[in-house]
Symmetry: C2
Subunit: 425 residues, 2 copies
């Protein structure tokens, strides 16, 4: 306990996940129990934009049942954004504005749930506050389906997208298998712009060689057309069908995304440029070079919000890191992000730790080499040992009388503004 | 009881579903209990192709646990095909070949699980058998995610794809809502080439006006660009985001699929032709005419195989129609398809009936007008009353130690051939 009393602001940033609300719930419920420290717990509407525009609402005034339901609700119920603040020099006006709003409401704690960019914003905000002698604690809560945050064993959000995608690949793989006399190949695109963690996780679906996915395209492994085509032919000969998982961030050897480079590939096939995603480019290659029909699947945003088959492990850890962020803040710890440290694979055990926000902000974590098979088209046993515990258990959801999930909805009634309007740069 | 003894062949045809294996299980388990009637129960590898090529296997020799697991396994475990036999005149050789194989193995019962085309094949086969005085019973078991089979209240497979897609739309809709400051619109494409039942079912996700889907594009309602654009603008003004569900079979007023016509639309936007699906064409229109960024989701084959969130009602009915087919066959009834007749909406009650295969084969059932809202962009309360009972309950699945579903796999050891090779026409 530091004696620092004041309001807390909780914000969510970047792409939603199945469990980012569970993290928010962990922060909110833990903070609301400590009114002696937190004189109010506010939500920022749409991440840092809500702070800049002074669009705040009182989470203590929300229905506690809806707050609790956040544990079982996907997407970012507080509202999210992709607004990136630059460095303290060029975006100084914005950082000062944030402090202006915080001071006006006596906000002394800032909990930012997000990825690298959010950690960067939180770090810089903390630095400026120290510079101008405004006592406040900024702390980060990790969130990303991409699992590319460094200094943490994994990030909440990844286990759930991994579980849903692996199950989908298993199911769509059975579909391809059953209809191989008609459509022999399927290209199934999954998210992951910069790292192949999500694509790799689909490899969990493959319990035996004959099962999907037969080929995984990872951003970490340059896509060489000839090698890929040979591998597809090989799969068709062996299994009579071929199921390809394609990470959206897969690139050509000269660093172009397949989705963008697709034009060049597709031109060969159809004489005009391709606009779709990576899966469309890969399909064009299969149809041209191998000469078999191919289908494409791309769940898009539905994959990262797929709470209906989220990982219980992931949902519980997401709550935990939110709770730990509040506990750390109460001990006076700022400038840090809560991390997950694995202490044992089997049985799976974790503890939480803390990492410097600045370090986290400036690092990325691609899929390590030891998780990628020699030919680059599959994952290793080491990856399975890493990823398998993260998809364990099914997160609880509520089902309504209409047979569909019931997810939280917050009232988000904005509190009165104490500052003037602000034009976000 | 008719006294007709002999072997039974079970076959699956067309696109897989989450519950077509449950129907197969209903047929197999019911038939295997009556060895006094069925001297053997064979599976045909890949539908009618397996019969033509005499690729049959003994379902009685399979592990009973795997047979039982079919109830909880998606896709077509017997193997499927899209091989369509023409009329008795032009495809006579094929029909005679089927009878040749059936005679060689003393097959007296044929259970064909599929849609219109399969019902057509079964009907014609039955007719030829009567013509040549080969005593046999051909009976149909309905299956289609498209729900466009006539003479039945609904078809097994629909309830599950409806449940999964509605949940996905609910989840992806929350995602769009949370990130409206960055991506305001999402186009979510679902299956249904000829009928809008699946697209309509996504409307179940919309419990209040502000929730997704804000617009549904149905094949039954001609797509008029200007009206659509106006509706998108309207949604953006009201809800600050717009979530569009697009049935893959949506068409322009002159009857072109949006996916194909997409070229024309996309050319306006980017100067070249569009290759993707309907969602890509719709996205191009939104980005050009409305001027906002749009995302696209298209789960593809993963939606129809999504056993991990299938409807329990659907799975149970799928089993039931399989069982009823065997019971009808034992009463000597051939040339029919088992139907589902709804006797009450609330509480939901059904019974099964029988319809002539020929009638079913030659009919289609588009979404009726009373299920479509006046402006054509939504569904009515009448549709909700119809569809809601079909998505009730979650089908049971098994989860392995790796946290992922465990689905059936049959050994499918082919029995020896008794006829010569055959070249399928």
């Amino acid at each position: 306990m530091t004696g620092l009393k004041g309001k807390a602001v909780v914000a969510q940033s970047g792409g939603p996940t199945a469990v980012i609300n569970a993290s928010a719930c962990g922060v909110i419920q833990t903070a609301l129990r400590r009114r002696d420290v937190f004189t109010g717990v506010y939500g920022a509407l749409n991440g840092i934009l809500g702070v800049l525009q002074e669009e705040l609402y009182d989470l203590g005034a929300e229905d506690p049942a809806q707050i609790d339901r956040l544990k079982r609700s996907p997407s970012s119920a507080l509202g999210s954004c992709r607004h990136k603040l630059k460095d303290l020099k060029s975006s100084r006006r914005d950082y000062e504005r944030i402090l202006e709003v915080f001071k006006a409401h006596d906000v002394r704690y800032f909990f930012y749930i997000g990825g690298n960019d959010s950690m960067d914003t939180a770090a810089k905000l903390g630095r400026l506050a120290a510079e101008v002698d405004y006592e406040m604690i900024a702390i980060g809560v990790p969130k990303t389906i991409d699992n590319d945050l460094a200094y943490t064993d994994h990030s909440p959000g990844f286990g759930s997208v991994a579980k849903f995608n692996a199950a989908s690949v298993m199911e769509a793989g059975r579909d391809t298998e059953a209809l191989y006399t008609h459509d022999t190949t399927t290209v199934h695109e999954v998210m992951g712009r910069n790292a192949g963690w999500i694509a790799a996780s689909c490899g969990l679906a493959r319990r035996s060689d004959q099962e999907a996915p037969h080929i995984i395209l990872l951003p970490e492994v340059p896509f060489i057309r000839e090698r890929f085509v040979e591998k597809v032919r090989d799969c068709l000969a062996k299994y009579r069908c071929c199921f390809v998982v394609c990470g959206e961030g897969s690139k050509t050897p000269d660093g172009k995304y397949l989705g963008e480079a697709g034009g060049a590939f597709a031109k060969d096939a159809f004489g005009h440029t391709q606009l779709g995603g990576a899966c469309d480019a890969v399909r064009a290659i299969i149809e041209t070079d191998v000469g078999v029909k191919s289908r494409t699947n791309r769940a898009g945003t539905a994959q990262r919000a797929a709470m209906h088959f989220a990982s219980r492990t992931d949902a519980e850890e997401a709550y935990l890191v939110g709770q730990k962020a509040v506990e750390a803040a109460m001990r006076g710890i700022g400038g840090k992000m809560v991390t997950i440290e694995r202490t044992s694979d089997q049985p799976y055990r974790i503890t939480t730790g803390l990492a410097d926000l600045e370090k986290v902000a400036n690092a990325e974590r691609p899929l390590p080499k030891e998780y990628i098979s020699e030919d680059g088209f599959a994952v290793t046993e080491a990856f399975r040992r890493y990823a398998s515990p993260l998809v364990q258990g099914e997160a609880e959801i509520e089902i309504g009388a209409d047979g569909l999930p019931v997810y939280a909805r917050l009232a988000r009634r904005l509190i009165g503004g104490k500052t003037g309007p602000y034009a976000v740069s």
